[in-house]
């Protein structure tokens, strides 16, 4: 295994993906429809990260009231919907998660 080639290759593709649009930003103007589509990127990608983390915490589907990730997530969604306050959402969601984990496991 050539470590230098491995890391250099990984650097090139990763940085390339992250930088290519920034690099040419002055010369491109996205069509209006694409711009509006891109507004949905945070919702779409972050939710696609959240769901497996919550419903498949160990790689297998675990939809049960005993799953502390689900309980914590429900509390976080409720608090965020109610108050739209990030700090409160994080603290309440984590607290519910920890309490549930101890309650069920301990």
């Amino acid at each position: 295994m050539n470590e230098v080639l491995l890391i250099f290759g990984m650097f090139v593709v990763t940085f390339g993906i992250r930088y290519v649009l920034f690099a040419v930003a002055d010369n491109i103007e996205f069509p209006d429809k694409l711009k509006r589509a891109l507004n949905y990127v945070p919702i779409a990608v972050l939710t696609a990260i959240i769901f497996p983390a919550v419903f498949m915490p160990k790689g297998e589907f675990y939809a049960s009231i005993e799953n502390p990730y689900i309980v914590g997530a429900i509390v976080a969604v409720a608090i965020s919907f109610w108050r739209k306050n990030m700090l409160l959402t994080v603290v309440a969601g984590l607290a519910a998660f920890v309490a549930w984990k101890w309650l069920i496991v301990g």
Binding site: E3, V13, F22, L38, A44, I49, G93
Partner: protein, 249 residues
Amino acid sequence: MQYTRSKLFTLGMKDCAPLILAAIPFGIIYGALGQSTELTAWAVVAMSVFVFAGSSQFIAVGLLAGGAAWPVIVLTTFFVNFRHLLYSANLLPHVKPYSQAIRAPMAFLLTDESFAVASNYLTDHGKQANFHWYYFGAALFMYINWQVCTLVGLFIGQSIPDMANWGLDMAMVVAFIGIVVPCLHDRATLACALTAGVLSLITYDWPHKTGLLFSAIVAILVAMYLEAKKDGTQPDEQSDADFSEGASE
């Protein structure tokens, strides 16, 4: 609201804190896993320093353990990190004011976490002249944390029991929830989230995070369809024509 540069920088760090917490076990586990492969300690660290992409680093050490050749790992990295293109496209209007000397490090530090925090900030504040100070506060904090955790994992990771099951990743989940939920204000945004969520479960087994990318893109198309339906002058069946028409405005 107008902040000074250092205020913005520390605000970025602060907003990133839950995601830092969530990243700690992953950084440590990465270091510990890396140590158990044929990679030298230098290479394990160099990967964190130069690549700085958690999930692809995990997949790389996994593939190494399975004896994969480096071009395979590089190609896999490309697919795993392809979603960052969506992030950079989303941030494009906000980086246009900056020179390449600022854009390049911004791109280098672009991760799920820095994007999540940045997009949340931009949703709340709109276009900001000094956005990069906020961004660098969040992203550099993430970067330094990742390096420290890699080192910790490399040297003492194997003596820390069962970190993956501590549940620190929940900090990321609740932070992301706190970012997404306030964005859900109509049928299009709600359908976008539900589609992305359900599809991400169904496509979870797809290789190299392609399921995540697929789910996100389908969810965006669903949202665009509903948005067009809502805004459309012809309220009903205009969708197909609308999509194929695509770019031409």
